[in-house]
């Protein structure tokens, strides 16, 4: 059965490109426009991987990670941050919140797939 990925970004184009990349490799992708929408999706179904942006309206990526990690179902689920931010202070906060990895945009589709395969085992 195909692994499911929740892609979270306020940029429609980024969501499209992430979906195109992952769906092409056989993953099922569900899209969310911000942290709050992502939380709602995560309650509806269990995802194998969360791929989220940092700077988003309504609820940012860091808050989303903290809320997901507080939920037992997502305590050990891989969560990757895909963002334009590369500051060490942001990474430190993400790491403390329980992030699995940090990817700086723009992403290379092949390398994104490589990371996704790696964290999904």
């Amino acid at each position: 059965m195909a692994k499911t990925v929740l892609a979270v970004d306020d940029s429609r184009s980024i969501l499209q490109m992430v979906s195109m990349t992952l769906k092409g490799a056989g993953y099922q992708v569900v899209e969310a426009g911000n942290g709050q929408e992502a939380l709602a999706q995560a309650q509806k179904q269990k995802f194998d991987l969360i791929l989220t942006d940092l700077n988003m309206p309504v609820m940012d990526g860091l808050t989303l990670v903290q809320k997901l990690r507080a939920a037992p179902a997502y305590k050990f689920t891989p969560i990757l941050m895909l963002t334009t931010e590369a500051g060490e202070s942001f990474k430190a906060k993400g790491k403390a919140a329980g992030l699995t990895g940090w990817l700086v945009k723009p992403f290379d589709p092949a390398k994104l797939l490589g990371v996704v395969k790696k964290v999904l085992g």
Partner: protein, 403 residues
């Protein structure tokens, strides 16, 4: 400090302020030097806030003060114009930023649609190429099936040619056997000739015996009967020999026809095998060439599909400029908002009312304190907007770090 300056110097400063305001209005005519204009208006506002309160009340309430008030009023009017123009420029800049974002979003949406379709078609092309003749297509591919078919046809034709050749050889052996049989029939015919000679001699002997029996008279009657029977036997023997000769001749002629037919069949088979074997070999070579070309083309199609897929990947990386550009534009908009706010707050200090020439010192102090608080708040606001959310300076792919 300005209060210590002489009156002509103050007049000169105000005149300089007016000149700077005019320069600011000039810069506003261009969209991007907005920031420079903001700096100018900030400086002018400070000057205008400070200058009126430097004027000593009623120290020399003569013509000089009237001139000073007129200059101040003129400068204030210029400031109001500058503020209004700058407000329009900020609004215009925000609208243009939003327009750029919308154009980028629309363009990228279509680009992504195109590249998604391209990637999909490329993947389908690769799949089809693999099914036709891919290296990893396995035994079930069309290419492998065609190769097996060619091998099977070649094997069957080889067997057919071998069988035909063997039949031809057998026919030649049969023809040879027929020749030997013909020779034996000739021997039989020769022997039959001898038999006829014996019968003729027997007949002659019987005739002579009859003559001798007739001479003997009554004593030879019995012998004459025997001689007659012997003669009859020789005649019958001759007739049988002739019949056998005719039959053997007929069989020999038939065998000769069969031999000729078999010989012709062997020759025809041999010729057919030689000609068709060359023809079939040529066709098989063409089929093998076609197969090799199809296999090579399928391999090239698969390679091209992979290259297209790789290029689509590069395009995906590059198309993320829209997200990055949008974030940078949003950051610029936030900076414009902060400066717009700063400009309005600075300008609001005087409230647009006519300035009194004489101002109490306490009021002047309150204005300064208010100004300092506002400047501090403005500094904090601007500092918050120093952060650029986009770290990448180019469209090279970003770093990846797994914790």
């Amino acid at each position: 400090m300005l209060a210590l300056l002489s009156h002509p110097v103050r007049i000169g400063l105000i005149a300089a302020a007016q000149a700077l305001l005019l320069i600011g209005l000039f810069f506003i005519a261009c969209p991007w030097p907005v920031l420079l204009a903001v700096a100018l208006v900030g400086l002018m506002t400070l000057l205008l806030v400070a200058l009126p309160r430097q004027v000593r009340p009623a120290s020399s309430a003569g013509q000089d003060d009237a001139e000073l008030v007129a200059l101040l009023a003129g400068t204030r009017e210029l400031l109001r114009q500058l503020q209004a123009e700058l407000g329009q420029q900020f609004g215009g800049a925000r609208q243009e930023n939003a327009q750029v974002q919308q154009i980028l979003a629309d363009a990228i949406d279509k680009l992504i649609g195109s590249f998604t379709a391209l990637e999909k078609h490329s993947a389908r092309q690769k799949e089809l190429a693999g099914r036709i003749c891919g290296e990893q297509s396995g035994a079930g591919s069309q290419c492998q099936g065609f190769a097996r078919l060619l091998t099977t046809i070649e094997s069957s034709l080889t067997k057919l040619f071998d069988a035909t050749r063997r039949s031809s050889d057998n026919a030649r052996q049969l023809s040879s056997a027929m020749t030997q049989t013909q020779q034996q029939f000739q021997q039989v015919l020769s022997m039959l000739g001898d038999v006829r000679k014996i019968a003729d001699q027997t007949n002659l002997l019987a005739v002579n015996a009859s003559v001798e029996a007739a001479r003997a008279g009554a004593a030879g009657k019995g012998f004459a009967v025997v001689a007659e029977e012997v003669r009859n036997l020789s005649i019958r023997s001759n007739r049988f020999s002739q019949q056998i000769d005719d039959s053997v001749q007929g069989i020999a002629a038939a065998l000769s026809g069969v031999e000729s037919a078999i010989h012709q069949l062997a020759d025809e088979s041999e010729r057919l095998v030689q000609e068709e074997q060359q023809h079939i070999a040529s066709m098989m070579e063409q089929a093998q060439t076609f197969h090799a070309e199809v296999k090579q083309a399928a391999g090239e199609i698969a390679t091209i599909s992979q290259q297209v897929s790789g290029q689509v990947g590069v395009a995906i990386t590059s198309m993320q400029f829209q997200d990055m550009a949008t974030q940078v534009i949003q950051s610029v908009t936030r900076r414009l908002d902060a400066m717009d706010q700063l400009m309005n707050e600075l300008a609001a200090i005087d409230g647009g009312e006519a300035l009194p020439v004489a101002v109490e010192l306490d009021t002047y102090h309150e204005h300064l304190v208010l100004l300092r608080q506002m400047l501090q708040a403005a500094t904090d606001t601007i500092a918050r907007n120093h952060h650029n959310p986009v770290s990448q300076k180019s469209m090279d792919e970003g770093d990846i770090e797994l914790f």
